[in-house]
Point group: C2
Chain length 484, copies 2
Amino acid sequence: MSAVLEAAISEFAAIDSVVARSHEAQAAYAAARHAVRSALLRGLADALERDAAPLIALADEETSLGAGRLNGELARTAFQLRGFADRLDAGIAARIVDNAAVAGAPPAGRPHLTRMFAPLGPVAMFSASNFPFAFSVLGGDTASALAAGCVVIIKPHSGHPELSRRVHALAAGVLREQGLPEGVIGFVDQASREAAVRLVSHPDVGAVAFTGSYQGGVALWKAANARACPIPFYGELGSVNPLVVTPQALAQEVETPAATLAASIALGCGQFCTSPGVIVVRDDGTGTRFVEALARSLAAQRTHAMLTPAMHCGFEKATEHIAAQPGVVTRLAAQAGSAAGHPPTPRLFEIDAQSFVANAALHEEMFGPAALVVRARHDADVLDVLTAVEGTLTVTLWGAEADTAANRALAAVAQRIAGRVLFRGVPTGVAVCDAQQHGGPWPASTQPQTTSVGYAAIERFLRPVALQDAPPWAIDANHGGATV
Amino acid sequence: MSAVLEAAISEFAAIDSVVARSHEAQAAYAAARHAVRSALLRGLADALERDAAPLIALADEETSLGAGRLNGELARTAFQLRGFADRLDAGIAARIVDNAAVAGAPPAGRPHLTRMFAPLGPVAMFSASNFPFAFSVLGGDTASALAAGCVVIIKPHSGHPELSRRVHALAAGVLREQGLPEGVIGFVDQASREAAVRLVSHPDVGAVAFTGSYQGGVALWKAANARACPIPFYGELGSVNPLVVTPQALAQEVETPAATLAASIALGCGQFCTSPGVIVVRDDGTGTRFVEALARSLAAQRTHAMLTPAMHCGFEKATEHIAAQPGVVTRLAAQAGSAAGHPPTPRLFEIDAQSFVANAALHEEMFGPAALVVRARHDADVLDVLTAVEGTLTVTLWGAEADTAANRALAAVAQRIAGRVLFRGVPTGVAVCDAQQHGGPWPASTQPQTTSVGYAAIERFLRPVALQDAPPWAIDANHGGATV
């Protein structure tokens, strides 16, 4: 047997064994009182905060994201773990619709029906590169799956392997303290692509959560669909996040909005899924002054090294690809010496609306500190540009607050293509709350009817079940009333 | 150009033109006050009832389902159209989660966020063969899509073409009366398989609803996933609906439960998606007497011709396939002269639990009046049989009402594999109400987190959108406040 084959077999065996432990833990965890789940979530939040200083130092070493940002991210991660715990205690996973029996013939006559929610089973969770805390081992996907009564099997991102191990070890400690089996939070270390496919294809895995690249996500989505029993795949695959700057937004001045936008484009070195990548600006004198200010402000942004050399390389390729498209003008070019491992310099490109609409290559994400300005001659151009984008996490509309027919048309198109529409501020920074929606039509999400941020994220891992003429114990066993 | 190619081109052009009209109607219909939608749903219910007599006569001629059943089905169809209208008036599609802004830094600080629901766009709706009213032109999928603010494009079933045309003509009349564009309810007559794929692949179609065969459904599901922008595909593909007869259920006598079950197996000539197809019976003396009573009672059931000759042929093939599996004993065989066009005779087969579990060929649906009895030696066998089934619309548990460990284990496994778990009665007959869940793990549904019967079905066609710092008009425009 070849060494390669032997290694693959041993890796597959390791995956199978992690899945087996999680599968074994699933039934008891699903049947546990919801207070057991919320105590676990709070214990995980406490553990993160207790070790914040060394975790942040390690995260910064592995990701270059900086202590300030990472401090905020860890705080957010603990906040959302506790937020799910609060909502569990308030009954979010125990929602019941009960319809009493009605005597007589159908359609009005009916039996007693009780609609409730059951966990989908072990969730395979693929960590993101760009949020080493908030979308990783104990991030939003894990928090919402655990809240739903699903155990998780974490595939860490190779961009921060040591941090992932450290956080998983913390989580394992909390499980031990609370007397829960280790399979509640499984961990598949350093899995190859083939092993990742094996995980998604495993018959005992019930759902998948994924945040990452379009190619990686589509490959795993296909694997989930190729199973004998396909399972739900919640993937976030990429987004260009158009930001429309109406003339109204520039009525006072151009410098402040340009500086605000430049900071958002360069935030975290542009490694945000909500980074504004397509900027729609009117093709007039004020618009031109705004673009000039944006280029100046962007050039002045300090960036840091990208998450991995591969991502730096991908960024350079993506920007070169955009620069090479017919009609594209480079407003801010790569500087010499911008090699992998060093901070990339921000880029800014420009194109007219018609050329943008006609060329699908221009609708692709450049993951990193770059944006494409699209110059629109009139309102119809703006609508055409948004329509051409098709699916995106966010659309931001600056200066569209007045109740006019043009702004109503803009809002309507924005809502057709996006999961979140902003009328002020920048799309980077996603609040964790009940009203949040993070997801949009393909490729933003593989399941745009769901969200991966905010407390509605729990719904991804629950399946409705109706009990007909059920005895009380069968109903009680399903909404947090049972003991472990 | 060949005649075949010319016909295909002309058929594709016809589909494109129907989609174009519906796409054109979508924006205005989505923006209409919800009262416009509910008035349409009520108008459609009234129109169906006004023409009930000739519609039922035509339906009976095309489907052989009988006037009694068809009367009930038309009443149910009108009932659910009005039910969705009532819920629209009560705000079902206007649910809003509003989180006020919180001052300060994240994660606690946040902007103003308003989560609401937007329609997914034109819905391609594939009618079922077995419910010429309730799952066809104006059936549940159409009612829920229209309630959600989605226009529909109906692909009628070839089993009742004339009825479909007649009902669509009625619907077109209601649209005219109410001043709505004809594209709100589009109709693709006599589409070939290739044309059906074209419809699902059309860039202006936003979601698909399908009830029908596994093969047809999987082909269209693949087409929906093969698009440049895949779209949600809500398919119901087949279900064996296990029914567990515990010893407790036979403690009094065997004749009455056997007669009840036989009637459910043969109802509508077994052409129900919830028809009980796998009957789990204890391998003891009482169990044997029950199976004998079931065979006698089933033999005495009067059936009618199946919906189409192809379905009759499929039924014969499926039962022959089951009969030929190792270990299967035929308890009730085909009678001579049971050719297509004639009523098929009911069939009953029997196998032991271990052989059932080991042979996946036995887990497949026989669409028609047939069932497979699985004899279980003990409780563990029953759990293994249910686990082997994997995905089903329903599981029925007879005699499992006492609060015992065995019954809790049974209920837990049933809920893992099914969307509805019954503790009394038979699974045929699905009440239309808020608490209903019709859908289960693959292959019962392609999206088991959703239901195709009951008022939660509207959620399939709505996508959440969060508005951030939105002016009041932008929020109002999205929840039924706007005029057409």
